[in-house]
Symmetry: C2
Subunit: 362 residues, 2 copies
């Protein structure tokens, strides 16, 4: 088997955890994994899968310093910094170029920095099986999670025929489906043919380049230019090629058009904690259905309150009295109160904050 490298995508800058998350402190840097950051937990999860010198983080220039500050022991040489933020396809191409320059036989396991996955051992098995499937140098491997509810916040993978000789739970991908409406999500849920798209991929560099050539030749051209520049150590050309690459996601540019995509059914607990509403994934719930995250020094006091999500940091009390199904977030310089049902629409509020002179808090 080729050498497996882990590529942790840590360039995301979502606003769905505002005011806990900020431009310079996105979700992957929130202490949501039992006190450590989701990024640190992701690194911990792959520690026994690949050695440190084959563990890479890729992020944008803005987040490079916060990430280094959060991970003082992480080697600078393994942190790939994009010349500028450009969607996931150029990002993945850059990571592939950097890694292939030092290891021509690399197989890449590409994964988001901010997901919760248990147990680690099942994840390791899955990545190794993915690497075996990808070893033909043609197959792009994805991982699908058994839906536990008709979620509308995830993309779905429709499974096709079983892959012969590849063990249980290995299929061709019939189709990728974007986030569905609730009715469609319910149909997906009952059909049994749909898995949540985990956003985790395994592929070799040749397979990736070939799929880019099929899906987006312009992207493929930039990717090849990056690869060659990285091999030569020509940073200037590498940056130029990156900046020329189309701003497009890896899903649109590659996955949805690739000829040979496999999906492995992932038998593990997985959550992308896409908003405060999913906080229970990391905090659990009390007897009244409240999910409470308390940072150091924070004291949440809930009285006659149920179904709420509370996130607090800093030395403060957060008292909820007689309220239901709210999200209440309190950090040093900002407080948010909204119904759980609106927690997925925070971008609307973010716009308002921007227009009302609060851009400094974003």
């Amino acid at each position: 088997m080729r050498n497996l490298h882990a590529v942790v995508l840590a360039g995301g800058s979502g606003t769905r955890f505002w005011p806990a998350s900020r431009a310079l402190r996105p979700k992957q840097l929130l202490p949501l994994a039992g006190g450590e950051t989701l990024l640190a937990a992701t690194l911990g999860r792959i520690r026994d899968l690949v050695p440190a010198e084959r563990t890479w983080i890729i992020t944008n220039p803005q987040l490079a310093a916060p990430i280094q500050a959060a991970l003082p022991g992480f080697p600078r040489s393994q942190l790939v910094v994009e010349p500028e933020p450009r969607d996931t396809a150029p990002c993945v191409a850059l990571a592939a170029a950097r890694i292939a320059a030092v290891d021509a036989d690399a197989t890449l396991a590409v994964m988001p920095a901010d997901h919760v996955i248990h147990p680690a051992a099942a994840f390791h098995d899955l990545m190794r099986r993915g690497a075996e499937l990808a070893a033909d140098g043609r197959t792009l491997v994805t991982f699908g999670v058994n839906p536990t509810r008709p979620a509308t916040s995830y993309g779905y993978i429709e499974v096709g025929e079983a892959l012969p000789g590849s063990g249980a739970g290995a299929y061709r991908v019939a189709r990728f489906r974007e986030k569905p409406d609730l009715q469609t999500a319910k149909e997906f849920f009952v059909s049994g043919r749909f898995l949540w798209n985990s956003g985790i991929f395994v592929w070799t560099v040749p397979a990736l380049l070939a799929a880019m050539e099929v899906g987006n030749p312009e992207l493929a051209g930039c990717a090849v230019a990056m690869l060659e520049a990285a091999r030569r150590g020509d940073e200037a050309t590498l940056a130029i090629a990156f900046r020329r690459a189309p701003k497009i996601s890896i899903d649109y540019a590659v996955m949805e058009k690739a000829p040979a995509v496999a999906v492995l059914r992932a038998e593990l607990e997985w959550d992308d904690i896409g908003s405060f509403v999913r906080l229970a994934t990391v905090t659990g719930q009390d007897g009244e259905g409240n999910s409470v995250f308390q940072g150091e020094g924070t004291r949440a006091v809930l009285h006659e309150a149920d179904g709420n999500v509370v996130y607090g940091e800093g030395r403060r009390a957060i008292a909820l009295f007689g309220v239901h199904d709210l999200v209440v977030v309190a950090v040093d310089d900002a407080v948010l109160v909204c119904p759980k049902s609106r927690a997925d629409d925070l971008k609307v509020l973010i716009q308002r904050l921007r227009s009302q002179g609060c851009a400094d808090l974003l």
Copy 2:
């Protein structure tokens, strides 16, 4: 006319504005009067009514230092500090003793420190009319406010016959009524015979002592002992007499049993801002019915939010998104979220805070 003295009762320590108010920072010390404290606004209101040397504040030992800190210019000799907190009857007796010791002809206008009253000129007229009525040395004068709604949070005064020769709006008091239930409040409201009890009184010292003798002889004995001790400058005896006085309110001990009580109909705006729900009295409301108090550096951002009450202090944003009829309070070390309909029950939450190890925040 005898010399009018103003006695500001500043010993209250309510919890109905928690977490803005605390044991050492009760409502009268909140900056609810256009940036200044309610206590300062009360002093401002009486500045043109009585001279500084006839303006007194009475409070308990715990609040003496916070009040002096809040009013650096107020003369220490005019601040009467109770030897210990004991309800309003001993408090009023102590103030009367202190003042009578320096001015045997004093008439006292006794008023809470934490009410909102406009305009000041109407208030002055009213106090002067009260002093005239009280000049007979027998009449206790109260002030009643025309109800603007069937409030259940105020005591009521039932007006009796008009007082002959005392001008418009002067009546005997038929009865004092405690805070009514809603049905009774509605009956009071439509009857036109009931006024809100403003908690403001005017009387001479002899009239007060005589009424105490009728209503509560034990209290009267202590009051006389305080008066004599104050005249002699015997602080030790004064304190002993105060501590011996029954813990009882001036309403129960005196007003409800006094033979000659008059009420003047107060034609002015009056509110005791009894809880956050009444915050609009000092902040007004925006187009969506939100009442917002923003301290220095606080930025409240409300989006698709109506009917809420927001109180914020310190450098922070308070964002309400898609919520209705909530009270949201955020200060440096505490946040409160509760429905407006529960804002009058905060004592329940305070108990919970106490039992959950948060007594330091009370």
